[in-house]
């Protein structure tokens, strides 16, 4: 086995110049491709946060019906979302699932402690079901706590992206406070007092430890999201009725969206769909994404041609060496394995170095350069699927490119010197 490894290592060390070219081409391609992906993600994020609602095309956001009162403060608000309204929505044709968000109908305040300094602020809370926010919960312990209603270590709390944005762009900017990075917020602890705010209090108010479970873009609320069970228990504790702030209705597919929206409006409830992007913005977004896709395609095509030529040349350059190995008793399978392994490792190393370099550069740009575009902050956004795809292409490109040369080599006869 050691001798086989020795032969593999010899193969890895062979043809250094062409291997270096393959490695460099893949590294540069990875850097360019990931740059385009990060730019594309930042652009889409900018569009989403500044021009669009966060409602997916197959979802409808249902809110309380619009008020018809004539005065500023009126008892005659629109139809509330209660259990009966939810039942009716559930029975509508085309509705697949309802995710209601329940209001904590008591005064609430939060206390955040920094060493000896305590900061107290009024806030609103809402309860969401586990399945609706499952993907936003960061750790298995928090997921279990949310699911089972076990709050011994504190009530898990999700912070909506809208709340973080309004803090960063409002309170933090105005008061020179540090900005919050959504991805780093999980794990912070603070105290919530239910039944007490700066405006009023209810008898029997109590304080609870809370732990931030992560952030969510699903619920567009400037308040905190707690487990549905906790919200119901708090309402029950103070004898308050359970009312829903809004409900997310998932339809069978986007074709049903308009039909279900009309039926909900007929129930005297407000229904919103994700149509707030203007056609011009959609065209701009599509054009930019199309351009980026074309550029990535171009980079991959050029890299494929370069790597294919280099890989074929590399195999061809060592054909006499492989022939001698075969004459001396190496099997075709072993030789093919060493060549493919060499190319796969070279591709993976190039991917890893390219990825590390572009990540460092991006972080340097984020930290060093202040991009002063209103409402835009450059971030390292790269989807796992995209990263995985880049890795697979980087590894498979030299491997697949060397296959024709390997097959051609094996079809050539050994008895020709």
């Amino acid at each position: 086995m050691i001798q086989k490894i020795y032969l593999i290592l010899k193969e890895l060390a062979g043809n250094k110049f062409i291997s270096f070219i393959v490695f460099s081409v893949i590294t540069i391609s990875v850097i360019i491709t990931i740059s385009f992906l990060v730019i594309s993600s930042n652009f889409n994020s900018y569009i989403k946060h500044n021009f669009a609602t966060s409602i997916p095309p197959d979802e409808i956001l249902v809110k309380q019906g619009k008020s018809k009162g004539f005065f500023l403060f009126s008892e005659n608000s629109g139809r509330p979302i209660d259990e009966e309204a939810l039942k009716k929505i559930k029975s509508l044709k085309g509705v697949e699932k309802i995710n209601p968000v329940i209001a904590v109908a008591v005064p609430t305040s939060a206390t955040i402690s920094f060493f000896t300094f305590n900061y107290r602020s009024d806030l609103i809370c809402a309860g969401a079901d586990y399945k609706f926010v499952e993907k936003n919960l960061t750790t298995p312990e928090i997921r279990q706590a949310w699911k089972r209603g076990d709050y011994e270590k504190g009530i898990p709390v999700l912070v909506p992206g809208a709340l973080i944005d309004s803090y960063n762009n409002g309170l933090a900017a105005a008061n020179d406070l540090p900005e919050i990075v959504p991805e780093k917020i999980a794990g912070l602890k603070f105290k919530i007092t239910f039944g007490l705010s700066s405006l009023s209090y209810l008898p029997g108010y109590f304080e609870k430890q809370a732990i931030i479970a992560g952030y969510t873009e699903k619920i567009n609320l400037t308040g905190l999201i707690i487990p549905m069970k906790a919200a119901q228990e708090i309402n029950g504790h103070f004898g308050k009725e359970n009312r829903y702030i809004f409900a997310y209705i998932k339809v069978k597919d986007h074709k049903w969206t308009e039909s279900v929206k009309k039926q909900i409006q007929n129930l005297k409830l407000s229904a919103e769909t994700g149509t707030s992007l203007s056609p011009q913005i959609i065209v701009l977004q599509r054009s930019v994404n199309y351009f980026i896709t074309v550029m990535i395609g171009l980079v991959i095509t050029l890299a494929s041609v370069a790597v294919a030529l280099c890989s074929a040349t590399a195999v061809w350059d060592r054909i006499e060496y492989y022939r001698i190995l075969r004459i001396l008793g190496s099997t075709k399978i072993f030789i093919a394995f060493t060549i493919l392994l060499k190319n796969a490792l070279s591709g993976f190393a190039a991917f890893w170095i390219g990825f590390s370099v572009i990540k460092k550069i991006s972080i340097y740009i984020m930290n060093s350069l202040s991009l002063s575009i209103p409402g835009f902050k450059f971030q390292w956004i790269l989807q796992k699927e995209h990263l995985f795809a880049v890795a697979i292409v980087s590894i498979s490109l030299p491997v697949i490119s060397s296959l024709p040369a390997i097959m051609r080599m094996f079809s050539s006869k050994l008895d020709h010197s």
């Binding site: 001798q3 086989k4 060496y321 001698i324 004459i327 008793g329 006869k413 050994l414 008895d415 010197s417």
Partner: protein
């Protein structure tokens, strides 16, 4: 029977024309024999050696090694046979020029997956026997033709093969170096190895136990020197 070739046929297509190189050829070899194959250029000597070591496949016919049929279609079996049972010396040496002499000699052992102290010691002994000890760390590409042929011989012997195939081993060598190669081959014969040589060298033809003359893909004449063979048999029994 160490080796037996049964009814071997082989032809090549050259410019669309089928040219028969070996035609219904039968051939056998025993342990402790030196067999020389002679004949004009293009008569099929090299093709015969290439068929024995599996570098080319016959159109028809079978090969038996220790009375067992060799699966000619199976790359793994043929590779194993080439690596463990057959040592090969080529007219063009087929060394890896940018590797050292010692590394070249050890290559078949590495492919076999066995390089221990004994094998390294054996490689050193082979290099001493072939007079290449002082060149063991030198790149093979820097050696002279005669030295390269001796490296090829040492490499052919590293896995202790039962058969040694040599294709014109003295074609590029001067008389003194040729004699050294002959002496090594005679020693191998005395150790019970079977040596099959394609050659025109009259000195080598004299030393052979059997000499086959080939013409038009057939063995025309077999010259058996009974005295030499019997002497060898007696020495082994």
């Amino acid at each position: 029977m160490l080796l037996y070739l049964d009814n071997i046929c082989k032809s090549y297509k050259i410019s669309g024309e089928k040219i028969s190189v070996l035609s219904h050829l039968n051939f056998s070899a025993q342990r402790g024999e030196i067999i020389s194959i002679t004949g004009r250029s293009g008569c099929g000597k090299t093709t015969l050696l290439n068929i024995i070591n599996g570098l080319c496949r016959p159109d028809s016919g079978n090969i038996f090694f220790h009375d067992k049929k060799v699966p000619l279609w199976c790359d793994i079996s043929m590779s194993s046979l080439r690596n463990k049972k057959i040592g090969q010396i080529f007219q063009t040496f087929r060394l890896i020029d940018n590797e050292t002499v010692l590394s070249n000699v050890l290559l078949p052992a590495r492919i076999k997956g066995k390089v221990n102290k004994e094998v390294i010691e054996q490689a050193h002994n082979l290099l001493k026997d072939t007079g290449l000890w002082m060149y063991k760390e030198q790149k093979a590409g820097l050696l002279s033709g005669g030295q390269k042929q001796r490296v090829a011989l040492a490499r052919a012997l590293i896995n202790n093969p039962e058969i040694i195939l040599a294709d014109e081993p003295t074609a590029n060598l001067d008389n003194d170096t040729s004699k050294e190669i002959f002496n090594i081959l005679i020693n191998l014969k005395q150790q019970g190895r079977c040596i099959i040589i394609a050659t025109h060298d009259p000195y080598m033809l004299k030393l052979a136990d059997k000499t086959y003359k080939m013409e038009n893909g057939k063995i025309l004449k077999s010259d058996v020197k009974n005295t030499t063979r019997n002497r060898l048999r007696n020495s082994h029994s």
